[in-house]
């Protein structure tokens, strides 16, 4: 395990917030394998 000199108190989920949008929309028709 790499040493981390900076005490990171941010929860993992808040890192997610920075890296991608929390909401994604897809058409109900946008899935392959249905009529």
């Amino acid at each position: 395990m790499e040493p981390n000199t900076e005490p990171e108190t941010a929860a993992v989920e808040e890192v997610l917030v920075e890296e991608e949008l929390l909401v994604e929309e897809i058409s109900i028709d946008g899935m392959c394998g249905v009529y």
């Binding site: 989920e13 808040e14 917030v17 920075e18 929390l22 909401v23 929309e25 897809i26």
Partner: protein, 117 residues
């Protein structure tokens, strides 16, 4: 809308293309017209009228959607439920709620009219 509001709200594009403002200082709630299904990544929300399918990509966001109705404003709900450690997180959740409002997953709560007899 209270005067001196710092956050002007989030502008989103409605389906018609004209921008509508998401007002996070008012009370919101989960729409009754949606099915909300918890998933490991967060939840799936399906709007039965518009047939739009939305992925909520964090369990905290799902808790927020569920808990909106218990707070006087979306902002208050974010503080209480998300406990954002910085403004980026706060804004990301406001932005997420704006998207959900545009998709009809959440709706403004219209105040009940009380009749004084």
């Amino acid at each position: 809308m209270p005067s001196g509001t710092v956050d002007p709200g989030i502008e989103t594009q409605s389906k018609a293309g004209s921008p509508t403002m998401f007002d996070s200082s008012t009370k919101w709630e989960r729409s009754a017209k949606i099915g909300l299904r918890p998933e490991p990544f967060g939840a799936l929300a399906y709007h039965f009228d518009t047939r739009r399918l939305v992925f909520l990509k964090s369990p905290t966001l799902v808790d927020l959607v569920d808990g909106l109705v218990d707070h006087e404003s979306a902002d208050a709900a974010i503080e209480a439920i998300v406990e954002p450690s910085d403004d980026r997180s706060r804004q990301a959740h406001v932005k997420a709620l704006a998207s959900l409002a545009e998709a009809g997953v959440i709706e403004p709560v219209t105040p009940a009219i009380s009749f004084v007899g």
